[in-house]
Amino acid sequence: MITAVRTPESVADAVGHAAAGGRLMGGGTVVMAQVNSGSLGSPEIVSLRRAGLGGIGVDGALARVGATATLTEVEESPELAFLRDAVRSVASPTIRNQATVGGNLFVPQPYGDLAVCLLALDATVEVAGPDGSRGAPVDVVLANGVAPGEVVTAVRLAVPAPGTWFYRKAMRRKLNSAAIVAVAAVVETGGGVVTSARIALGGVAPRPVRAASAERVLIGRPLETDVLDEAGRAARADIAPFDDAYASAWYRTRVLPVHLRRAFLG
């Protein structure tokens, strides 16, 4: 049973409550669902709603997105328009009014599509803790989480150059459905061949993963069907797929190359 819901009005207070063992809550889409089913496993909740962690700031190509910025705010941000398709593939507009960017980092796959994007964007996660603040690479946070008592305060990312951002999410339904395979990528080309590639995958492992094997295949080669198919097959080395209510591990593995290719070629 929940004995307290803290609503700290500063990051320092939030860190204090978190350090005391409170479960952090952003928009409540995960935590409150657990409260309602009696499965939260912590008697105390620390809501970040009033901790001053909202807002989206953009300075040139660099964006800083507050941890409690909602997915709707990202969707409506003109500077982050490249993320709009990705955000709109998450749940429903109503849930996007509640779910937060910080919370999305901690959602288990096959949910957490924005986290897949942040991995492809090589974002930096700002973390506040009892000993001060630090910046952590998003892949580290996605793999290991943050330490007890730490609070994610923001995410920093570079807006990719036009034409270098790719996203595709395969779902069982057209809207509001978890990822079978999500592909997010920043891929730069020059002289008709790929010069750099960061590809992140969702839906195919317990956490978002980099498709490093696919990236290696692409470097120095054109974004063409055969190359992408080869990259997609290579990406199978990077995944740890699972069965769930939506699809089997077999199916996810089977269609991964298809969706990887379609992320680039439609």
């Binding site: 609503t7 809550m25 909740i45 809501s47 429903s92 507009p93 009014n97 509640q98 509001n176």
Partner: protein, 192 residues
Amino acid sequence: MASQVVNLRVNERSREFLAAPGTPLLSSLRDALGLMAAKRGCAQGSCGTCTVLLDGRPVMSCLVAVETVDGASVRTLEGVARGGDLDEVQSAFLEGFATQCGFCTAGMIMTAEALLDRNPDPTRAEVVEAISGNVCRCTGYGPIVDAILDAAARRRKEDAAARRKEDIAARWGTADIAATPGTADAAARRRS
């Protein structure tokens, strides 16, 4: 920690009530305030039957810890009809046979209200996306989408009529406004 006093502005009335730690907004609306229109269909944010407007945005009220939104403004289906008159969304659902069992209706209507507040002339695709978090097991959704589009058309028509009256009033005085109560009010209400 004991229950806390929470203040909300609900359907334009200030309400004060007690909430135990972790109480969802939905439970406070239903159990503390007696507003039963919003339903509990899953308590997991997966069905949309509990949708209400929180500071103008639709939310799944089962996922909102009520203590964290102290001072916020909430609108529920009970606050939609004014003076006993159905609004355009309600009328469109009623006349369009967009209800069957009725359990999803409150959430559908509130989601539609929020959509039309922001987007008076939505495309079919926009309506479809707006209600993508609301489950209906009876209708197959078609009549609901039709009703929301119909409501948008009714509201635009009514707003246009109200604007015409306001223009006339601005030029010629308010005599004819009094003869047609409601229309100007309705438009002004939504633009505010």
